[in-house]
């Protein structure tokens, strides 16, 4: 035990382990700005302002008209400004939700995005990547379920939930959603500058904060950004 050992933030370590799992499947890291335009964060992803889908994510608007990104998906359309398919990318980063904070809700979150665009990408490819990643993230030690869930930027869309500690779907510690995913919507493919008749892709986004809280038994999400050394120096 090193007397002078320092401590990496548990979020940093957790994200790194996710990047490694996807690097093994050929995914490269890409990053995107945390403050972005409405176009990259919403419209390009098929979330127009006059649609109720906008209400699902409470947004921080800046006075200059830009947004603090509500998800790391702003990396998707941006990525294709300097790339052509086939493309396999993951994008870890911080994103923001304009909601009241409490034990389970935060304004500032980390997300882990991934997407693959090529010719003839299918749901079969998506499920392969998800099941492989889940096995590695949880070392085969978890019960999980996959079900349809609609998001405007994918079609079809799917959620993965994992079973919490107590095993009962009724409690807060029952099924916990860890990621949303799906086949990239043809409108988004078009916004990437690609022909949706020729190219398809899948995308997924996961919430590492919740996942790492479940892993270590951390009850309050605000601890992650509390700066409390009694917390940070345990990791």
């Amino acid at each position: 035990m090193n007397l002078r050992a320092g401590h990496l933030h548990p979020q940093t370590r957790y994200i790194r382990s996710l990047v490694k799992i996807f690097e093994e499947m050929g995914f490269e890291v890409v990053e995107a700005p945390e403050v972005d335009t409405e176009w990259y964060n919403f419209d390009a992803l098929n979330v127009p302002s006059d649609h109720p889908a906008r209400d699902v994510q409470d947004t921080f608007w800046l006075k200059d008209g830009r947004v603090m990104r509500t998800h790391t998906s702003n990396s998707q359309v941006r990525a294709f400004e300097t790339r052509k398919p086939p493309v396999r990318l993951v994008c870890p980063g911080v994103c923001y939700r304009n909601e009241a904070t409490d034990e389970k809700h935060e304004s500032t979150l980390t997300q882990f995005e991934g997407f693959y665009v090529d010719k003839n990408v299918t749901v079969g490819h998506l499920f392969y990547v998800l099941s492989h990643a889940i096995k590695k993230m949880y070392a085969n030690n978890i019960k999980y379920r996959l079900h349809v869930h609609n998001y405007p930027f994918v079609e079809p869309g799917f959620d993965v939930d994992v079973m919490g500690k107590n095993g009962s779907p009724r409690d807060d510690v029952g099924w916990m959603e860890i990621l949303g995913s799906g086949m990239i919507h043809p409108i988004v493919i078009k916004n990437m500058g690609l022909d949706p008749a020729e190219y398809s892709g899948f995308a997924f986004g996961m919430g590492p904060d919740r996942m790492l809280m479940q892993k270590y038994g951390i009850q309050d999400i605000r601890l992650l950004r509390s700066g409390d050394l009694k917390f940070l120096r345990q990791f």
Partner: protein, 751 residues
């Protein structure tokens, strides 16, 4: 939205268990967020068996009943005589809620009663209070009576914005029926109508493009009064209060078939006219919830000859309200443009059940059926005569057609189905197939492209049938990027003893004052929910100073943060390092490691030493804090970082939840055999004291002066209580436990 299972079963019988139903609904795309048995019977009320019945010594009309409940034998006083030994009955122990009151142990005519056995009324299941509710003899003792008797369930679903059609019991029933390969049953409506014609009593004109269809029916001679019990109960199950029979009827139809209706007092409609139009000027109004609201120009309103009488699709106005004096009702059922309703509901900050449904699109083919059903219901419960015919303006929209790209669908969902299997699935969902095109049912507003059809197919076919396909192997490994470079820098800092901190990117007004930052230079949030979120940081320094302030019990603070900062010039990634406390090093030492080992350009660092009196602004009580900050984006390329492959350590972490109360910090030093591992001592301390939150070794010194093959070890231990501030005597007790445990396990001698 909340749903009552028995209400769904008005449309389709559900053959499976509740658990199976919830799993099915979730698989189809709507998550079950919670459920409770209905009616709500306190979970403490359990099945008990009658062992013995005796006469009450002091009262002829009472008996003493000995029960076998799961906790053992117990005795209650009971006023019913329909019971027999051996029967299973509902037993409520002290603490259970009965008819709104908490049951307490009581002495009844000199004999103690440890609770009660219950009648149907006392259980909240009905009106029968003539005797005890006898349960089936096969019921297990101790089982919650709620599970036995509450056959109905209320469950809450998250309905995604694309499925407005599921925001009603009929809509959900239709979805469940499609999955179970059944169809929903709807009762035939035979309206008894009378003269005169409704069109003689009211005329309707549409003067806006935002209202494709408007229907009106008239019911004359109603008597406003309370609703019947069944209606009150159904609304109550969904959490709604009963207003009066006519208003309740319209609310019922909304949650029943999903169509928002509105009832007007016919006599309050000037000129017996309804005009649907977008307002040309701003109008002051009072809505049904008694609030004064200004309707901006462009708002779609339902008007009579003179004035607005309702905000179309959102809420009615008080001036046309159905009240106790109303005798003639005009019932509205319409289709309103979703974008217009959304704009209005947002600008008025008035989201309603009606606006939510119009925003998402209503069942455009069932508008007339909805107003007919409502008229019939009102006639049944409020009396009156339905005037003949439905007044109509506008027309139902045409159905949309989407080409079924069979081959593309199979490929996308990785599921081989025959064309006819796909057609069957779509037909079950209400699509009509015609010449390779799917005619989209009028209740679906989310089907535009073949990929939307693919989602319908895969969710009904079953995700477990999808064929998994591996990704093609790549020849090259993925490139390493700036992310890898930053991770390497972090590893070096951690190796040199620093702790990583991640802070919020926000600054409050107070933060900018303390940090002496001019808010003019900062990006500002337009709509912060909390004051803390007003500005975006342009430096990592204020956040790190806050971190130092938060940790008064540490005298060896050495921290760093890598994070985004923001200014009008743009966004950048910065690295900042802070040290503080008498056992910490100066930040220059760390900076020197970075320049010497990793080739950081030393002069690009901004280094500040903040003295004690300045630190007061940040509530820091330490002697000084030294901070260094640098823009990483500008220099990453010049650094010499070596191997960039990501290292993930397999450290064993035993996380201890920390308390919000301040800790007590103790330093303990021991002499032990030099072979004893620090890690093992730490583990033992954590094992024996559940108040130890953080245990850190700070010294390990092998020397003969401690004894042959002995060494000195020293630990900082932070002790905390979760309930309150730990008292000194409690801390001493923990320390004593630790010393004893270490002595026993490692022969450790306290110094």
């Amino acid at each position: 939205m909340r749903y009552l299972k028995s209400w769904i079963e008005d449309y389709v019988k559900i053959p499976c268990s509740n658990e199976e139903l919830f799993e099915l609904i979730t698989e189809l795309g709507s998550e079950v967020e919670g459920y409770e048995y209905y009616p709500a019977i306190d979970e403490k009320i359990v099945v008990a068996e009658i062992l013995e019945i005796k006469k009450h010594p002091n009262a002829d009309r009472l008996q003493l009943v000995k029960l076998n409940s799961v906790k053992g034998e117990t005795e209650v006083v009971c006023g019913a005589f329909n019971i027999k030994v051996g029967q299973k009955v509902p037993y409520a122990p002290a603490g259970a809620m009965i008819e709104g009151h908490e049951l307490k142990e009581a002495e009844i005519r000199g004999v103690k009663s440890c609770g009660m056995i219950l009648s149907e009324r006392e259980l909240g299941l009905g009106q029968d209070h003539s005797g005890i509710k006898i349960l089936s003899s096969s019921e297990k003792i101790g089982r919650s009576v709620r599970e036995v008797l509450s056959q109905d369930v209320i469950f809450d679903l998250e309905i995604t914005p694309n499925r407005g059609d599921l925001l009603s019991h009929k809509g959900l029933a239709r979805e469940v029926a499609a999955a179970l390969n059944k169809t929903i049953k709807e009762p035939e409506l035979h309206l008894k109508e009378s003269q005169p014609k409704a069109s003689e009593k009211i005329s309707v004109e549409i003067k806006t493009e935002n209202c494709p269809l408007y229907l009106a029916k008239v019911i004359k001679g109603v008597k406003i009064g309370p609703s019947p019990q069944w209606l009150k109960e159904r609304l109550a199950a969904l959490g709604l209060s009963s207003i009066n029979n006519v208003v309740d009827a319209t609310n019922f139809i909304l949650f029943d078939v999903g169509h928002p209706l509105h009832a007007f007092d016919a006599k309050k409609l000037a000129g017996s006219k309804i005009v649907v139009k977008d307002l040309e000027e701003e109008v002051e109004t009072t809505t049904l919830d008694d609030k004064a609201r200004a309707l901006i120009s462009g708002t779609m309103a339902i008007c009579d000859k003179d004035k607005p009488v309702a905000i179309a699709g959102v809420m009615g106005l008080k001036n046309s309200e159905v009240d106790d004096q109303t005798t003639e009702v005009v019932l509205e059922a319409a289709i309103f443009n979703p974008k217009s309703i959304r704009r209005t509901a947002k600008s008025l900050e008035l989201p309603t059940e009606a606006s939510a449904r119009f925003e998402r699109g209503v069942d455009a083919g069932a508008v007339e059926a909805a107003v007919d059903k409502a008229a019939k219901l009102i006639q049944e419960i409020a009396g009156g005569k339905i005037l003949a015919g439905t007044v109509k303006a506008g027309s139902e929209p045409l159905e949309r057609k989407v080409k079924i790209e069979y081959e593309k669908i199979f490929e996308l969902i990785s599921l081989k189905l025959s064309k006819s299997e796909i057609d069957q699935i779509l037909t079950r969902l209400g699509f009509k197939i015609e010449n390779g095109e799917a005619i989209v049912p009028l209740w679906r507003h989310d089907i535009y492209v073949w990929q939307d059809l693919a989602e319908e197919v895969v969710r009904l076919a079953g995700l477990n049938k999808v064929k998994i396909e591996a990704l093609p192997r790549l020849a090259k490994k993925p490139a390493q990027t700036d992310y890898h470079r930053r991770e390497k820098i972090k590893d070096c800092l951690v190796h040199w003893g620093l702790t990583e901190v991640i802070n919020y990117p926000f600054l409050s007004e107070a933060d900018t004052i303390a940090a002496k930052v001019d808010p003019k230079d900062l990006l500002e949030v337009a709509n912060p929910i909390q004051e803390e979120n007003r500005y975006l940081r342009n430096s990592l320094v204020p956040g790190l100073l806050k971190t130092v302030a938060k940790n008064p019990s540490f005298d060896d603070i050495e921290i760093y943060e890598v994070g985004h900062v923001f200014s009008k010039k743009g966004e950048a990634v910065h690295l900042a390092i802070a040290t503080s406390g008498k056992s910490s090093r100066q930040v220059e030492i760390i900076v020197r490691e970075l320049t010497d080992k990793l080739n950081f350009p030393g002069k690009e660092f901004k280094i500040i030493e903040i003295p004690r009196d300045e630190l007061k602004r940040f509530k820091i009580k330490k002697a000084s804090v030294s901070i260094a900050e640098i823009n990483l984006d500008e220099i990453l390329d010049e650094l010499k970082l070596g191997d960039l492959s990501l290292k993930v350590s397999e450290k064993k972490i035993d996380y201890r939840p920390i308390s919000k109360f301040p800790p007590v910090k103790r330093d303990l030093a021991f002499i032990v055999d030099k072979k004893v591992a620090l890690e093992d001592i730490k583990e033992e301390i954590l094992k024996v004291s559940n108040k130890a939150v953080l245990v850190e070794p700070f010294d390990e010194f092998v020397s003969d002066k401690f004894g042959k093959n002995k060494k000195n070890v020293a630990f900082h231990i932070w002790l905390e209580s979760r309930e309150r501030t730990l008292q000194d005597n409690e801390a001493e007790a923990e320390v004593k436990k630790i010393i004893e445990a270490l002595s026993t396990k490692f022969a450790a001698k306290l110094r």
